[in-house]
Each structure stands twice: as structure tokens, then as C-alpha cells.
């Protein structure tokens, strides 16, 4: 268990750093989604299934979707110009 937790923590940390440092916004969004999903696993490990489900559905799912929609819309506008 603890090894899994450490593994996920490290992955999340690296993912977060990648998200922050990368130039490509789309990449950042996708990796953020992954980090968010990882965090929901962490919630599960913390015996918080309610939070885990909510995080997976809302924090990871819908938020990422929102980011992607926005990104696409902004790109669309760029194309039009």
C-alpha cells in the first residue's frame, strides 16, 4: 500500500511540475487531468471514496473537459484570424 502511495505521490509531483513548466497548453491540460485522476486514487487510499468519486467526476473529468473546450475555442478564434 505504502509503496503504491509513494509511487503515485512521485508521479503526481512530476506531473504537476511538467504541467507547470511545459510550453504547450494542451499538453499541460492533459497532464493536469492525469494528475487530478491520480489524486482521486490518493483519496481512495485515504479511505475517502466519496471524495474520490467526486474528484474523478468533477475535478478530473469535467474540469479537464472545460479546459479542453476553452482551449479549442481559443484555437478556433486564432484560426479565423
Amino acid at each position: 500500500m505504502i509503496n503504491l502511495a509513494i509511487f503515485i505521490a512521485v508521479v503526481m509531483f512530476l506531473g504537476a511540475i511538467w504541467t507547470v513548466l511545459t510550453e504547450d497548453v494542451f499538453k499541460a491540460i492533459v497532464i493536469f487531468g492525469i494528475v487530478s485522476l491520480m489524486s482521486s486514487v490518493m483519496f481512495l487510499l485515504m479511505q475517502a471514496p466519496d471524495v474520490a468519486i467526486t474528484e474523478a467526476a468533477i475535478g478530473s473529468g469535467i474540469t479537464t473537459a472545460l479546459f479542453i473546450f476553452t482551449y479549442k475555442k481559443m484555437e478556433e478564434r486564432k484560426d479565423e484570424r
Partner: protein
Amino acid sequence: MKDEKSLFINIVALLILSFMAFYIYKVSIDTGSGIKITDSITPKMRVADKYLNKNVLNENSTYKFSQTAEDTSANIVTSVVVDYRLFDTTLEVIVLFVTILGFGFVIPKDKRRVKMPSVILYRWAPILMILMLMIGGYMFINGHLSPGGGFPAGAIISTAVLIGVLAGRKTVNHKTLKVVEAVAGISIFAIGIASFFIKGVFFQNFITGDRIGDLFSGGLIPVFYGLIAFKVAAELSNIYFEFYEEC
């Protein structure tokens, strides 16, 4: 964005962060008297103890599974969210309401090109939607028994709407969403006010006497969760409409 590579800002930010980290470290190793943030404190020493033992009203009461208690929700997180701290949850619904309202208010409304959806998606959409609705419905109905609850349920139901939108199928329109949103929102408060007139206290769970673990238990909890789910679903669907529907 050249500015992002500005060395100065990066150094300043790193300094600030390292200082904050140092401070937190210093606080955590502090050896002074009193309760420290690193102390391990169990729920027994917190208000959570009463929630777990379900004896907020009567200090000595104990309970057994499949019998009545003061709050008959089996999922204690749910009983905190929708009963002990119900008022927070209603406010949270309002927060979502306000932000989505603001979202619809400020999003630029320019003409969008509508892409034709693929045939597969168009054919499979109804099945997916029904599946989503079923999962969502299960979640909020069982919110007081198992993990889940109104918020993820709402999110999943809204995904059904999203699929419909993506598939180009007419499901619900803007007006309906608005009505659902308002009716669900008002109902939450209406129940609260009703409890004021029945019991003299706002947001009191006035259906009591259920047994823990039953499907129909927890009094008003499933009702509230249902309303919350529909409200969240309606609000989130609004977002998709803003993105993908022609105005």
C-alpha cells in the same frame, strides 16, 4: 510568451516558496507546549466523534445497524454533508449556480461552426445516455448508503446531456434547463422552509424513524441529494450548451 522565462520572477518565486516551506517546516518541528499541527489527533477528540456515534442530540445514545438512530444515513460523510452541515451544501449549490450564471454571462457569444457528428456516435448516443442516466440515478439514490452522492451523480447525468449535444440529438433545451435549475434550487429551500413551519427549525430532517442501511432511510437525505443532482446536472449541462449549441 517570453516573459515566462524571466529569470528574476522565477528566482523571486522560488525564494518565496522556499521561505514558506522553511516556515512550515519550522512550525512542524516546533517543540513548544500546546497542541501542535503535527500531533496525531483521532476523530475521538473532534466534533466528528459525535457524527460517528450519532449522538449529537443525546449524549448517551448508542445504536445498532438496521435500527433507528438520530441520523439514519449509513454513509457518514453523506450524513455530514446532507444533514449535519446541510446548510453548507446548499450554499455550495448556490456557488455553482452563481459561477455558471457568470460563465453564461461573460462567455463571448459568437457564431460557431457546427460539425456534423459521426454516424456511430449518433446511433449509440441514446444507449450511452440511458447508461449514464442510470448510473447517475443509482448514485444519488444510494448516496446515503454507498460512496457517491449528488455531486458526482449530477456530473454523470450532465455527461449524458453532453453526449446528446455532441451527437447532435435534441434532448433538452435551454429553457428546460433553466426551469430544472430553478425548480431544484427553490425546492431545496422550500423543504428547508417547510421544516421551519413543521418543526420550527430550518433545514431540519423532519422524516425520522427509518432504519440505518435501508434503501429508504436517512429521511430527507435522498430527496436533497436528488435535487442537488438535478441542479448540478442542469448547471453543468448549461456549460456544454454554451460551448456546443448554436445561439
